[in-house]
Symmetry: C2
Subunit: 429 residues, 2 copies
């Protein structure tokens, strides 16, 4: 029988991310009774199976109300379709209603989840071996994983404790240029980042846009958590402040609707000029890549998200009122439990501290010992609690920190999970 050597497969190159995530999944499988403060997925209980057919029907009703005949509706749902998808108008309207982002419907590409949007953006912008992408570090593993599949170099830009510093971005970009490479874009999650939980102040956002202009960088703005702030403080999307067309906006419906739709999107309203002076929209140009990855995003899945948008008047903010209350309560519970189970002055003595995110799903705890895979296994086995080593999100770093997630659990489990974590820390600090 044919045997393949792993060293001959590209997965041997893609190793670190996959290995880490597999390890986490495997530990979770072996200790099913451990409370998982590792799982970053959204809470399950907002929807039922019956919602799928209802949302699809709402979308079909919307098409019919626009005057489309039965043959046309059938074709839209069951045939091959436009590469960039059929939700451009609804999504453009949503961006305007919820976030004051005004872009043409044609600049929206519907993708097979936001992961595909990252792959397409990286592939389009990084055309040659000298093209690299910068990324705020710690960095979401989906971005570094996509880059590895494409052979694109990712240069980390270290986040300061208060968040990404635009001057550091400028320095890193200049350093990259000095070694003969071309920095094409910077990836970041400006709101309640995964994994750090940090958000950028408004003034920093404006300065970052200036730096992007100065350094000829595009910004890849990934915003899956922006709806879930602890307060109603305005956190304008970079794209809403972007008068120069520096921002590509990456959107997800995984947290605001549900992950099972596997629908995300990309806004690329920049102009592309060809060698004859012909002008196209970047989103249209990128469709050549999308068509060779997945052809077009399943219109059956698009119909589900289309139904959510139609039913909510194109406002995810309106559609997510219940979730917002749930996630706020969970994050407050997490932060209160940390205060309770790591009391002062003991925690300062031990060198334990955490950040206090203004929203989202995550917080980061610094600990005075190596928070590695070995300790995670011990934590699962002896203390019944799971978390994510922050080192998973660094090229090299994060060895003494762990990410806690509070999205998937009920509040009581979060409190109990933090109590268990405090016992692990007490025995190791």
């Amino acid at each position: 029988m044919t045997e393949l050597s792993r060293a001959d497969l590209h997965t041997s190159v893609s190793d670190p991310v996959a290995t880490s995530m597999n390890f986490l999944n495997e530990i979770a499988g072996r200790y099913p009774d451990a409370i998982s403060l590792a799982a970053g997925r959204p809470y399950d209980g907002f929807y039922s199976v019956g919602d799928i057919a209802r949302y699809q029907q709402s979308y079909v009703d919307h098409l019919r109300a626009r005057g489309l005949g039965e043959d046309r509706v059938r074709g839209l749902l069951l045939q091959y379709g436009r590469t960039n998808g059929q939700l451009g108008e609804l999504i453009a309207r949503m961006l305007e209603v919820d976030q004051d982002i005004v872009v043409p419907a044609d600049s929206v590409m519907v993708t097979a989840g936001c992961q595909e949007a990252m792959v397409i953006a990286l592939r389009a912008l990084c055309a040659g071996p000298d093209d690299v992408v910068l990324a705020a570090e710690p960095c979401y593993v989906g971005l570094t994983g996509a880059a590895r599949i494409l052979g694109v170099e990712v240069v980390p830009v270290p986040e300061a404790p208060g968040g990404l510093d635009p001057e550091t971005v400028a320095e890193v970009a200049a350093r990259v240029r000095a070694r003969g490479k071309r920095p094409r874009a910077l990836y970041l999650v400006p709101n309640f980042s995964n994994p750090s939980g940090i958000s950028l102040p408004v003034a920093v956002r404006s300065r970052l846009l200036e730096v992007a202009g100065e350094q000829d960088l595009l910004l890849l703005e990934d915003d899956p958590y922006g709806l879930f702030g602890l307060d109603d403080e305005p956190r304008p999307a970079l794209k809403s402040l972007d008068t120069e067309g520096r921002v590509l906006y990456l959107g997800s419906f995984a947290k605001s609707c549900f992950p099972g739709a596997r629908v995300g999107f990309l806004v690329a309203d920049q102009t592309v000029v060809d060698e004859h002076g012909g002008r196209t929209l970047l989103a249209d140009e990128m469709s050549a890549i999308k068509s060779m990855l997945t052809v077009n995003t399943s219109p059956i899945s698009q119909a589900v998200i289309g139904g959510v948008l139609v039913e909510s008047g194109c406002s995810l903010r309106a559609a997510n009122r219940d979730k917002l209350a749930f996630y706020r309560h969970n994050l407050r519970t997490l932060l209160a439990a940390l205060e309770e189970h790591f009391p002062q002055p003991d925690r300062d003595d031990r060198g334990v501290r955490w950040n206090v995110p203004g929203g989202g799903f995550f917080a980061v705890v610094d600990v005075p010992f190596a928070a590695d895979e070995k300790l995670l296994e011990l934590s699962a086995e002896q203390f019944g609690v799971l978390w994510t080593p922050m080192s998973f999100f660094y090229a090299d770093g994060g060895h003494h920190a762990l990410r806690l997630s509070c999205s998937y659990l009920e509040a009581e489990q979060i409190a109990e999970g933090v109590r268990r974590l405090s016992r692990l820390v007490a025995e190791n600090a």
Copy 2:
């Protein structure tokens, strides 16, 4: 405003395929009344919009009948899920029922259409710059497009008039090795190929498997049309003859169900051995790539295909009886219309000839003039008929041939389209 130079984008590298297909779509848009013998998509009329919800319900009923509780069913449909998908058992059963292919359910990866399966297979197998893939030429544009996105070199293996010759495969593989490259796999469509319509005789299939062993090649068997033979002659899948694990089977539901599901699959039952002697299944190894492209295939779309399989007793052959009759009638109509409108001895005098496929959606007509984009435009404008230049499917070649497709039209339109084509040929030959 930010303007990007097209020369700086990867799409400038991906150019030829996208340009050709855009040109075809653009011509079709400009001449909506032209009969399209170019469109290779399946006929629309077998399903209605209401089937989507019914198939999803059948799949949900199937899960419940297997004893899964409501929370579990909801999680399977709406949450993030297993990277390789949830239809492995149903698809493995289908392969056994319809094709005598016996593989473990774990070796099946459900993909976002067969296009993603091609990307994953190419990426997994071509790890370094010396790894290349061979492909029968003329070649489906999805394969060459996927390779271009990944920067993988495709080496064409010319098809003889009777189909791919295994000895030519061996010669090309040896030649590739002689210039320091490593041929990893050969891509082919053994049944009613797109674009050539040709099928491989059984003896050739067996010899091809031997050559694959001798040359240490894997075979990427893509089989979207195998169900649609003009007769019931057995055309065993390479995978069903594959005792040595040389074949990766790429599956599509676009023609056997509908394209809008965007569900395909990959069978990879080979063993992978790592540097410590650890053994895994290639499909599991490949999941590291899938997870960084699209995470997992939409379970909402998987449910639709799952429903088709549940309702048909896992037999696409059974589920496709009506379609088989329809497509047989269409292909016979196409071949009869060619005979009628290009009568002898005139056609020999003019140098017109075509192949007679044993099934599928396509036939190829050789003509004594350049069948290029300029002629296609003239054909649309003055003769009201569209076809696909065969040059689209060659690195360099196919300049005097055109592909006719008979899948999307009713029989009368096919006959009228061929009549119009005969007028174009009469004026140009």
